[in-house]
Symmetry: C2
Subunit: 283 residues, 2 copies
């Protein structure tokens, strides 16, 4: 496995590979890798000649009061995990190399980005879109895999790829969960033992929504209230949002008539976790 | 010369060329081609294996009161000119194929775009950046040539390429002028005989600025006033702006100490023309 530290070297290497007809698959990450990331690497590995993983804690997608400085990092562990997963190239740039001091070009997705996580994290998806476009260009990806845990991010990236005609095939990687149902996240390590237990409320309240949906409930106000009540009953859990939206437009839905995304974010002290489920009209 | 009408076919063809190691040079245009465009094609032709020209009157870079509908079009003449210039591929998409009805991803350059043409054409450079990025992705360009007549556009595109890491080498094509000095433009055809004569004021007032600069004048207020007075003396000419700015940051300059861009826009009835000159500190 080759480790590349500069954007220039990454792009040159990738362009050389492309010119010889090799296909490149990639998994952009912020590091502190877990089994969720590894599952994305496996998905990409099966469909490309060369597998590239990037590890970059992107400063432009963190708000001023968010956890950029404390975001967990462990490069040597990440390196081992990538090696084991059959990664060919590990792109690990310095933040200062990725953004010029006078950087001024940004990608805004103006339709899907306003609600859900975008409502409480202004500027977040502008940072995500911009860095993902940069990574597409640097790593020259034919295929890129993103996890379904970040449901809104995934849909925004798919939209950006369509709108800006990036020649990248986006694959969706299913959510990987701990045995008790908690969605894997680099931020789970922040949780105290009590918070770790409380954090099960995300998946369990979604289970409850899915059960009600299966039983015929189509009124989203009822489904949302279920989650509001559930989270309110959990000590130490503070609901950031619960939204029930159209799975394509991410517009609010009153009565479920087509594929619908149920997404929530819950805070446990300073730790904010997300999870989601898709309610399919015709399963 | 092959003519390609859909974005999908264009991208597939370009990706196939790239995989066989061919380099692609391109000239994005809005058609109604003139000798200025042809000079850009010659520049690209000399440095690539495959030369692509796009003809697309991009709706997103026109304001609601601008000349999208009346912008001159003559495809069969453009086709002949491209054929004569040795163009391999002519990309000529339908507007509806280039933008989805719910397109929502846009590229904003936030530093260089505010002044000059950006001040009187809000949203113009967002449209330009977005369509240029789309064309880069569709035509898979290694080299792209843009004309120096659109000085601000050129600098914004160079900035976007740097900031978003597009693997495209931008070449600057010198301004091509009519024998009497008028910069070539597709919009020149709108001019009446009187306006055509009056339009010489752009180049002549810039000549005058260059003469003053050569004689040692470094006060930009003095240089600007020269142009304001010159244009005011020309019947039928209405100054849109005259700016004297740093050639890299496009920030206003009071005393010239480094390379400086002098750019102006002048209206003749409904026709708006631009021109510019760079004052080099060390020629």
């Amino acid at each position: 496995m080759k480790i590349i530290r500069t954007p220039e070297a990454m792009q040159k290497h990738a362009l050389d590979l492309k010119r010889t007809g090799r296909s490149i698959g990639g998994v952009p990450t912020m590091g502190f890798l877990h089994e969720g990331h590894v599952s994305l690497m496996r998905l990409a590995r099966a469909q490309c000649d060369v597998l590239v993983v990037s590890i970059f804690v992107n400063p432009t997608q963190f708000g001023p009061n968010e956890d950029l400085k404390t975001y967990p990092r462990d490069f040597s562990r990440d390196e081992s995990l990538c090696e084991q997963a059959g990664v060919d190239l590990l792109f690990y740039p310095e933040p200062t190399a990725m953004y010029a001091a006078d950087a001024s070009s940004w990608i805004d997705e103006a339709s899907l980005s306003g609600g859900l996580c975008g409502a409480t994290r202004p500027g977040h998806f502008r940072g995500v879109c911009t860095v993902v476009a940069k990574l597409f260009n640097l790593m020259q990806l034919d295929i890129a895999v993103f996890g379904e845990k970040d449901a809104q991010q995934l849909r925004i990236i798919e939209r950006m790829v369509r709108d800006l005609n990036f020649p990248v095939n986006i694959l969706r990687g299913p959510i990987v969960r701990e045995p008790d149902g908690l969605a894997m996240s680099s931020r789970n390590k922040y949780l105290s033992a009590e918070q770790r237990e409380a954090a099960l409320c995300l998946r369990r309240s979604l289970d409850n929504v899915e059960e009600q949906f299966a039983a015929g409930e189509r009124n989203t106000a009822v489904l949302r209230q279920t989650v509001v009540d559930w989270i309110a009953s959990v000590p130490g859990a503070e609901l950031d949002y619960i939204e029930v939206v159209d799975d394509r437009s991410l517009a609010a839905v009153e009565t479920i008539e087509s594929d619908t995304l149920v997404a929530l974010a819950v805070k446990f002290g300073a730790v904010r976790l997300i999870d989601n489920a898709v309610l399919c009209r015709s399963p």
